[in-house]
């Protein structure tokens, strides 16, 4: 009698790529709830629309590439990309913005490079940057947080939100407004303290901006869930947040009118927490070793701050991540861990002697 010949190890742990991806989606829920609570139904619609688009376009490409649909769709990677992009887009932005961004993410940034595991750049951020450059008006129109809506005005209800999204109409005035990073950037001639007193976005906030601080806390919570499930190591996110904090501390300029903002504002505004825990932790496009991730995370934190403080864009996570994606293979070459029995770390580029 003959048996099958199978190489070791025979045992396999319980983890699977689909489970990892699903957990990432679950971990976005605190952030999504915060977004929906403070900014209305828009984000939820974004996420749903992006997910649908992603699955359809992934299926189409897989069909063209002659790949088994069930096997590849079952890894949920397209859904993760879509959810992250949907969360990053402004609530109530027109439907075609969501669709174009998602198609770009899934088809161009991922599938054209070979599908899951082969994309050199973070697909969601590629889609986001394409949209930001192509449709700046739609991409910078943010909804006013719930707490700051004028008396008698409310966020559009679910049906009204759907109507706005699919008719591509801008929401009524009063419902839209600047983000904390945006208004901070465009307020000149005032010290930080004055801005914090005059702008209700800050004066009514606890940490860094009404609504936004909750969104960031939500993503922080999601990040902690993923960390405790060992989906990734702490190195990348902590290095990014620490560098961002350090930079904002160094250039705090004691809150003068030139100050780019406080440590708390930088940590809990914009896409800081989402970027730290959901974007730069994309393993495919990031560095591989723990030391590499420290450098990669720090680089992103550094770039985010530079662009926020002195660049043209109020937020910069997408740009910073894409720029760091470029550097990842380079960083990988010089950050190999020290292997057991070796006195030194080696370089990936070492030539063999012969």
């Amino acid at each position: 009698m003959a048996f099958k010949q199978i190489t070791s190890p025979h045992a396999h742990g319980a983890q699977s790529t689909a489970k990892v991806m699903k957990l990432v989606v679950w971990a976005t829920i605190p952030g999504l709830i915060a977004l929906t609570w403070h900014f209305g139904w828009g984000s939820l619609i974004n996420v749903a629309l992006a997910s649908l688009t992603a699955v359809v376009s992934e299926a189409l490409v897989l069909k063209i590439r002659n790949r088994p649909l069930g096997f590849y769709l079952g890894d949920y990677s397209a859904v993760v990309t879509a959810v992250l992009l949907g969360l990053a887009l402004p609530p109530l932005c027109p439907w075609w913005v969501v669709v174009i961004g998602t198609v770009f993410s899934v088809v161009i940034a991922k599938q054209l490079f070979g599908g899951l595991g082969y994309n050199p750049f973070n697909p969601a951020m590629v889609g986001y940057v394409v949209l930001l450059i192509s449709f700046p008006v739609q991409m910078t129109t943010w909804v006013t947080p719930l707490a700051l809506l004028p008396e008698g005005v409310n966020h559009p209800d679910f049906i009204e939100s759907l109507r706005l999204v699919f008719s591509s109409m801008a929401p009524v005035d009063g419902v839209t407004g600047a983000t904390p990073l945006d208004s901070f950037k465009h307020t000149t001639g005032l010290t930080v303290e004055q801005i914090y007193q005059q702008n209700p976005l800050f004066s009514q906030a606890m940490l860094a901006g009404v609504g936004w601080e909750w969104v960031n806390l939500g993503f922080l919570a999601g990040g902690i869930i993923m960390l405790s499930n060992r989906l990734f190591t702490w190195h990348g996110p902590i290095a990014m947040l620490a560098t961002l904090a350090l930079m904002s501390l160094m250039f705090w300029d004691s809150g003068s009118s030139q100050s780019p903002g406080s440590v708390l504002m930088h940590l809990f505004s914009g896409a800081s927490m989402m970027g730290a825990f959901f974007i730069l932790t994309d393993p495919v496009s990031s560095t591989v070793s723990n030391r590499g991730r420290l450098i990669y995370g720090a680089l992103i934190g550094f770039l985010v701050y530079i662009i926020r403080a002195w660049g043209n864009y109020p937020d910069a996570v997408a740009f910073a991540v894409l720029l760091a994606n470029f550097c990842a293979p380079f960083i990988d070459n010089y950050t190999l861990p020290r292997t057991y029995g070796h006195t030194d770390r080696r370089k990936a580029t070492e030539r063999l002697e012969d």
Partner: protein, 572 residues
């Protein structure tokens, strides 16, 4: 409590050890045929010293060790040699190799055994020779001939003897049950080892803390012996030699070195038991404790199994259900290999036969793409980057594979175990390792061929040049001769010929100097040949190589003799 160190990485697969520990070590009836492979150890396969039809007794030597790194083989029971031929053996490739088949006579009659009661007054050399002749090779899995390991040479003083009782692979309980039942004999074996190694200052039994009963069993026997039982947290693969050395001493074994280089000898605990039996009782290694486990067998327990027992015999006696079984593994679920045939025999290194059900170890899922999640790097006990190795392995980038320390991979399988994409990483590494080795061998071969070719080219060119020079000289001489004496008289020609011969002949002094040079260069060649042979003996080269080298030596010696004779003749 002795300090222990923590290795990076590692995994915690379900232990599944309790199933085989409910009953004590059992025995099986003698099978109809025993198939004893000649190569059960690392090194050269033993050479059969029996013939077809010979009657042998239990414990009788049936194969001699072939050279230093080899081990003797003994008849596991009394009977008749019924075949000496290639059979499938316990090897991950499913290959066949030379085996001796014994048809037992059912008497199980031992040869006359004589042991040494007082080993402390026996020289280490004598004890080593007993161990060699008892055919003992490492029983933890690798099967390195134990006597070689215990004889590291004076240039490598040993200060630490580590006895490996970690047994970190899931399911396997062979060492555990052996310790529980035969702790006293194990300790006796360790004392013999310690005596052989010149009583090293540290004697440590490394054991995972999931074996409290075994630890308890060892304790009364280690009192006042200087032997320390060191337990440490359970984690796979703590039982790897390199890992255990680090856990117990905090020292890393430098890449490419052996434990003796840092003063450590590491021996499996089952081996120490075999050493005790060999030295004190005079019993050669003819049986071992093997775990029979897995849901596809109704009975799970440990057996004292005769070497050469076919796996099918074990399976039948434990009510094996082939329908339920996903595969039959020799060894554990992490590093064991699947058997291609039920006829494969138990050998000295077989610590476990695992017959898991499909629910226990499902059939392999298709691999998904690598997403570089890095879980493998977190699990790697030697701090490699398995995900990078995987990429370079696919790309066949040998240079990158080596700069990422592929050859430090111990193939423990922790990376594949945690991989969420089900990628058979270890398989890729094994394949790359053999690819690289093959490429290196080919490089050496082609370099040698190139060298030979270039040397030949050079030699031919040189010869051609010399011929050309001679031709030119002759032409010139002829021209000269024509010029000076146009009508050549016979006398002139004879005179010229005589002059040439005289010029060619050397004076006696010159002749003697030449012969002396010949003698001294012959002496040098003898010396060189001797050095080469010594080096080969020291590095335990194959017998064939040694033969070639000693032939070269005696050739050089003969030439030296001849040169000396000629010199003597000349000076007379």
């Amino acid at each position: 409590m002795r300090q222990t160190w923590v290795t990076p990485g590692g995994v915690h697969p379900p232990e599944n050890k309790h199933q085989s520990l409910t009953q004590p070590i059992g025995t099986l009836p003698i099978p109809e045929k025993l198939v004893v492979p000649l190569g059960q150890h690392i090194g050269a396969p033993a050479i059969a010293c029996v013939k077809l039809g010979d009657k042998v007794l239990k414990g009788q030597k049936i194969a001699d060790p072939a050279g230093t790194v080899s081990a003797a083989i003994h008849a596991p029971t009394s009977g008749i040699i019924s075949a000496i031929e290639a059979r499938p053996i316990a090897h991950s490739s499913g290959m066949e190799a030379l085996c001796i088949e014994i048809t037992p006579d059912g008497k199980d009659q031992w040869i006359d055994l004589s042991g040494i009661a007082d080993f402390e007054h026996t020289t280490p050399e004598a004890l080593l020779s007993i161990i060699t002749n008892a055919g003992i090779a490492g029983m933890g899995g690798a099967g390195f001939p134990t006597a070689v390991k215990l004889n590291p040479g004076f240039q490598r003083p040993i200060d630490t003897l580590i006895v490996n009782a970690t047994e970190c692979e899931p399911y396997i309980t062979a060492d555990d049950s052996l310790i529980r039942e035969r702790a006293e004999e194990i300790i006796e074996g360790i004392r013999i080892l310690s005596h052989i190694l010149g009583n090293p200052s540290n004697i440590l039994i490394g054991i995972e803390d999931n074996k409290p009963e075994a630890i308890k069993a060892l304790e009364p026997h280690t009192l006042d012996t200087g032997i320390n039982v060191v337990s440490f947290p359970t984690k796979y693969p703590s039982g790897g030699e390199k890992q255990l050395i680090y856990i117990l001493t905090g020292q890393e074994l430098p890449s490419g070195q052996i434990p003796a280089d840092i003063g450590v000898v590491c021996v499996n605990i089952g081996t120490t038991y075999a050493i005790k039996r060999a030295v004190v009782e005079g019993e050669p290694l003819v049986s071992r404790v093997t775990t029979m486990t897995g849901e596809a067998c109704e009975i799970n327990r440990n057996y004292d199994v005769l070497i050469g027992t076919p796996v099918s015999h074990m399976l039948e006696h434990n009510k094996f259900n082939a329908e339920k079984c996903s595969r039959v593994i020799m060894g554990g679920p992490m590093m064991g290999f699947s058997l291609t045939s039920k006829d494969i025999p138990i050998v000295k290194t077989s610590n476990c036969i695992l017959a898991p059900s499909v629910e226990e170890i499902p059939h392999n899922e298709p691999a998904q793409p690598c997403i570089r999640c890095g879980m493998c790097a977190e699990a790697c006990p030697v701090s490699l980057l398995p995900q990078q190795l995987f990429w370079y392995s696919q790309a066949k980038d040998h240079e990158r594979l080596q700069s990422h320390n592929l050859f430090d991979c111990i193939e423990c399988g922790a990376c594949s175990y945690v991989c969420p994409s089900n990628i058979p990483l270890v398989q890729h590494y094994r394949s790359s390792k053999s690819d690289i080795k093959k490429a290196e061998e080919e490089n050496i071969k082609s370099a040698q061929a190139r060298e030979r070719f270039e040397f030949r080219q050079q030699r031919m060119e040189q010869a051609e040049k010399e011929r050309e020079a001679k031709r030119a000289a002759r032409r010139e001489a002829a021209l000269e001769a024509k010029k000076t004496a146009s009508p050549n008289s016979a006398a002139d020609i004879i005179a010229a010929a005589q002059a040439r011969t005289a010029a060619k002949q050397m004076s006696p002094e010159q002749e003697q100097a030449k012969l002396q040079r010949a003698v001294s260069s012959a002496e040098m060649r003898v010396q060189k040949a001797q050095d080469k042979l010594d080096a080969a003996v020291a590095s335990e080269e194959s017998d064939e190589k040694l033969k070639i080298l000693s032939a070269a030596l005696s050739g050089a010696q003969q030439k030296l003799e001849k040169a000396k004779v000629r010199l003597a003749e000349q000076s007379n």
